[in-house]
């Protein structure tokens, strides 16, 4: 007996093995929750795109009316913001929510806490509600490959993670900003948190203020420019790329470094300890 015959028997012929997406495509869409229900646990951009309305304004309505709960719905929300931005001629201005600009290819998104929400529904915790004081949206501009993301205010953790292209501008960022970045650029006008540019293999990052610990950890390529100080373990185990610090780097900068360049006005203790390659330079020596 063939395996599909065995499975057919096991499920009493109730499972057709037909793609769920094909079944759901073409049905009338009732709203964001309806769209979310039709998608699987880990929706992909192509699946969301296939089910989302073709018209840009309808996508914007869907975005503004949504109140995503949980990672799955937030992912769908993020993909929808990217799709809306790509199809709109003018920038999409929305309040900051997790995953906004996910996998965006072109267009511009402006995340503004004071942006008016024009959706038909105002649900508690929804897009129309102002975020609580101090709460920042995470995963903004993740996996972007083009376009611009402008954040009026601070960004949370994982800003621009796995970014491949495009640009992001924000006032400050949390931890793990621009992690595993392979292309594009990011500008932080204030301070950045810990683990900036971890595992990067491309792209450019500029931070006007200070950066936290372990910036450029395992970095293979790309550039990081910091205007003020960097905390401990700068460029930890980095294998390539360059890091430039405007003022002073903290202890153990370039620890176990294998390649690349670190340049700063001064260093804390144990800079370059156990280094096997690369260069650590003091600006006055240049």
């Amino acid at each position: 007996m063939k395996l599909s015959g065995f499975m057919d028997q096991a499920y009493g012929g109730k499972v057709r093995g037909k793609k769920r997406l094909e079944e759901k495509r073409g049905e009338f869409l009732l709203g964001f929750e309806d769209l979310a229900q039709r998608l699987k646990e880990r929706p992909k951009r192509a699946e969301v795109e296939a089910l989302a309305p073709k018209d840009a304004n309808s996508i914007v309505d869907l975005v503004l009316s949504s109140s995503p709960k949980g990672r799955r719905e937030e992912t769908i929300y993020g993909i929808l913001t990217g799709l809306a931005a790509e199809r709109l001629a003018e920038p999409l201005v929305i309040p900051p929510r997790n995953y906004a600009g996910l996998e965006m290819k072109r267009g511009t998104i402006v995340l503004d806490g004071a942006a008016p929400a024009t959706g038909p529904k105002r649900v508690s915790g929804g897009a129309g509600q102002t975020r609580p004081q101090g709460a920042k949206a995470h995963h903004l501009g993740e996996k972007m490959s083009g376009g611009r993301l402008i954040i009026r205010g601070g960004a949370g953790d994982y800003l621009g993670q796995e970014m491949r292209g495009g640009g992001i501008v924000c006032s400050s960022s949390g931890d793990y900003a621009f992690r595993n970045m392979t292309g594009g650029w990011g500008v932080v006008k204030g301070n950045a948190g810990n683990y900036l540019g971890v595992g990067n293999s491309g792209g450019r990052i500029v931070v006007k203020g200070r950066v936290g610990a372990r910036a450029g950890w395992l970095m293979r390529s790309g550039r990081i420019r910091v205007g003020e100080d960097a905390s401990e373990y700068l460029g930890l185990m980095m294998g390539g790329g360059s890091i430039s610090i405007g003022r002073r780097a903290g202890p153990r900068a370039g620890w176990r470094m294998k390649g690349g360049l670190i340049e700063a006005a001064g260093y804390g203790p144990e800079a370059g300890d156990e280094k096997v390659g690369g260069r650590i330079l003091r600006r006055e020596d240049l």
Binding site: K2, S4, F6, D8, Y11, R16, G17, R20
Partner: protein
Amino acid sequence: MPDPLRKIDDLVSALEELRLHVGPADLQVGERKVNGQLYIPLANACLRNRAALLYGGMGANKTTLVNLLGSAFLGLSFDEVENRMVTGHPEQTEEKIVGFIDPRQWSSSPAPSHRSSKSSISSLSSSSFSSFDEEVEAIEVLWTPWARSRWKVINEINRFPSGKQNLFLELLQKRKVSYAGETLDLGDTCYFATMNPDFSATYPLDEALLDRISISVPATQPDFLASLALAEREKEVYELAESLPRLSSKEFDSLPGMVAAVSLDSRVELSIISLLRDFTLCERAPAFDKTQLSGGSKPSRGLCAGCHYFNNPEVCCWQVDEGLSDRVRQDLRSYTRALSLLLGLGGSGELIEVLRAVAPYVIWHRLSPNRTMLERPPYYRAGRLQYIKDLVEKSINRTLNERGEMNMIFARAVDGEISPREAIEELSGYDDPIARLDYARALERMV
């Protein structure tokens, strides 16, 4: 035409009426509830070369029940069955368990000189070895009644020290017993063991031995109502045992064939395979490096840190330290069949209920649950069987209710109806450990 099933039903009724076994109906099989402590040993009696362990405190009717069943199934008196039993204690010897060399064989002819010292054995030429082998084969061993019996009861197995437990491991593994170079083929045998970990001089059971124990059932001490019923018992057990119905040798021999005739449907087969995979996905070591398969590589010691499925309560693999061996698959199939036969269940939807009932008892003694999870309510560190029951329930429900589509995609790819690449693409949307760790890898090999 023998009808052992009718006699087994009579035996169950007689055990209750004679107050020889009064237990709660704690094993739910579909709509029906039966006493697990009775029905699981009964199922074991219908099978051959499977071992059932009764686990509980003093006075829980473990040993007596097994001997009563032995008396009924072998058609022997209760005393005869009891005499064949071996009981564990630290000083128990191999000679008392399996047999000893018959000294009478040397009284008629003198012993060959090379038997008396090792040095003389090492000095033998290769031609002499064959004659030596012949001489060794001639040694006569007096096998104990226990070794020769087809109903082997190992009482208080946990009181055997680890070295002596290896004897049972070898016995369950090879179905043979050896002593002084002589081997006794045990043939088709029913194995039972009892265990009371409350006793002093208790030794932990080796994991390999536990894996060869096919099923384990907790034996409970009589509750208030059961005690009232037992108070009505006026005669001694061995006297009452004479009144039990007895199976003929032909009926006893026909049971394995009847069990084998019960066919399991695809739902049960699929649920069993998925259950095993749910518990065993990583074989407790990364697929690329089995050298890490050591005592230190266990989920409780950080093996699963960083895994996507770690701490997901719906996923079973990280919640237990050990994986499940293929013996579990065979045991699940055998006991599902045997219990279905005993309860007269075999219809559509009934077999899966039997599997749900049996599977926790086949699995729970082989696994060490995650301590953190086990210490939480509603288990409070004591509900180990219940914890495994809940995991089994999750796995079977997931297979039957949620895995249909992904199983179908995988099956179509294996059958060549869709390309492996297309199937991998489709399966990537399923956040299921079997899809990720089994199906995707199998399809990648097909690309």
